[in-house]
């Protein structure tokens, strides 16, 4: 058969094939991005169930609206606009809560994100270990104090490694506004860790 398989198509071809109704091409496209989408949702929402909801809703929206994608931005940016909007909705709904737990419920059991800060990172020095333990506690409290937008910008910059210019595009704002948001978040962190930094 002369026709290419989905695996052989590049992204533009995959998008065009998916736009013409090729579901295998669409699922191939999903697999290029779904791990980072799930990671973003999981880190922001700290619940596998909510992350799974965002994953489903995001890719179904993409599927239903793919014919409206005109290649005037990258597919990554377009997809992340959808995902970040869904995550922000979740975060705003939760804002009524005074404090979010840092314990994640995962398939492997509960995980406290803060427990991943290991002793190895402080070289076994007792004084530095105390520093690390207290630091962990303060960081935990401060992350919970971020507004949803600060949290989103912080997550996209720190954990997803996106540049502020791209973050601005995704969130429908300017690079400068994204920078201000990141600055506010880091100032909150700095104020909370005043005697450390």
């Amino acid at each position: 058969m002369a026709q290419k398989t989905a695996a052989q198509l590049d992204e533009t071809e995959l998008i065009r094939a998916a736009q013409s109704g090729d579901r295998a091409a669409f699922e191939q496209l999903v697999r290029s991005y779904d791990q980072s989408v799930l990671r973003l949702a999981m880190n922001l929402l700290r619940s596998p169930e909510d992350a799974q909801d965002v994953y489903q809703e995001a890719f179904l929206r993409v599927y239903k609206n793919l014919d409206k994608f005109r290649f005037d931005c990258s597919f990554h940016t377009w997809l992340y606009r959808i995902v970040t909007n869904l995550c922000l909705d979740h975060l705003r709904k939760r804002k009524v809560r005074r404090e979010e737990p840092t314990v994640l419920t995962t398939a492997e059991g509960p995980i406290d994100r803060m427990d991943n800060v290991t002793e190895e990172r402080v070289d076994g020095d007792p004084q530095r270990f105390l520093f690390s333990g207290e630091l962990r506690k303060r960081v935990k409290e401060t992350l919970a104090e971020f507004t949803p937008r600060e949290r989103m910008v912080f997550e996209l910059r720190h954990y997803q490694g996106l540049r502020l210019r791209r973050i601005g595009e995704i969130l429908g704002t300017t690079e400068e506004a994204a920078k201000n948001c990141l600055f506010r978040a880091t100032q909150k962190m700095r104020a909370a860790l005043g005697d450390f930094v």
């Binding site: 990671r39 799974q52 994953y55 994100r113 800060v117 630091l135 960081v139 720190h158 962190m189």
Partner: protein
């Protein structure tokens, strides 16, 4: 000493570490840091904060990713159902898809069997070459359908049959199956589990080859497990080459960090054994690494072998 005061400098340190300051601001802060020991200490502390934050990142489990993909597959089939997706596809997916759908699939199958027994006249499937409904495998996939002109239809099915085998890892056939499973593109959970089992038999060269291939898996969980299996073979040239590639190309900071550990592991005489390729790769990493913790590990490793942390 620049005209920037310590308060302003400290406020900008996080953005400085993210590389998000303008050229002028970066110049000013670097000039200030050159002459201010207190702010240099603050910068180091800020790096520690970044490193601590890095460790809070959570990688979704392969099982969760698989569950998401399975559910999406079903929902997409349902979405496109109105536009022509076949009932058979949806039905077979009920039997082979997520566990929560399987009871529904089984009930549907019983219902079909019951209806078929009542509606289909005896002997309808007894012609030459015809299939009896009971022989159809639940995982069958319809490959082709053609009307045969006499009111019947000719259906070509792809069938897969399950078979269970068991054996120890010193059995070559078991290893071949596991290596094949470690490459299954459709199932990251299966790949991760297979790689983890294979790690116990990395003394076999074909297993090491599979683990080296798994270092390029699209799933970070699979890559991390493969990395773990190769730790004892860090001195082998092909492993060192693969680790160097991980160092420069892997998107996951934990992978890069482990590659540094593995490449520098057990060095009794660093200058002799730390080859130029690795030093070059680590110096290159220093130029491009965004992750503060990985940068620090890389810097420490280079300093340990008295290599420059910069390229010229």
């Amino acid at each position: 000493m620049s005209d920037m005061n310590c308060q302003s400098a400290k406020e900008l340190l996080p953005l400085y570490l993210y590389g998000e300051l303008s050229f002028d601001d970066e110049e000013t802060i670097e000039s200030h840091l050159d002459g201010c020991a207190a702010c240099r200490t603050a910068l180091e502390r800020q790096r520690q904060v970044h490193a601590s934050l890095d460790n809070l990142a959570v990688e979704p489990s392969p099982a969760l990713l698989r569950a998401c993909r399975d559910e999406l597959h079903v929902r997409l089939a349902h979405e496109s159902g109105a536009q022509g997706a076949g009932w058979w596809e949806r039905f077979t997916h009920m039997l082979t898809g997520p566990a929560w759908m399987r009871p529904a699939g089984a009930l549907t199958m019983i219902a079909i069997g019951f209806a078929a027994a009542r509606l289909i006249p005896p002997g309808a499937f007894t012609g030459s070459g015809a299939l009896e409904m009971g022989m159809v495998e639940p995982s069958s996939r319809v490959r082709d359908v053609q009307p045969s002109g006499d009111g019947k239809v000719r259906i070509v099915l792809d069938e897969t049959r399950q078979k269970e085998v068991s054996g120890a890892l010193d059995n070559e056939k078991i290893r071949v199956l596991l290596i094949s499973a470690a490459k299954d593109p459709s199932d990251p959970g299966l790949r991760a589990e297979s790689v983890e089992i294979l790690n116990a038999s990395a003394q076999f060269s074909e297993v090491r080859d599979a683990l080296l291939a798994a270092l390029k898996d699209q799933n970070a969980g699979v890559r991390l497990k493969a990395m773990s299996g190769l730790k004892s073979f860090a001195q082998q040239p092909e492993v060192r080459t693969a680790m160097t590639q991980v160092l420069l190309a892997d998107v996951n900071p934990e992978m890069r960090s482990q590659a540094i550990d593995l490449l520098t592991k057990g060095m009794e005489n660093p200058v002799d054994r730390f080859d130029r390729q690795v030093i070059g790769a680590m110096q290159e990493l220093m130029q491009r690494e965004n992750n503060a913790y990985v940068r620090q590990r890389c810097k420490t490793a280079l300093e340990a072998v008295k290599a420059s942390t910069e390229t010229y």
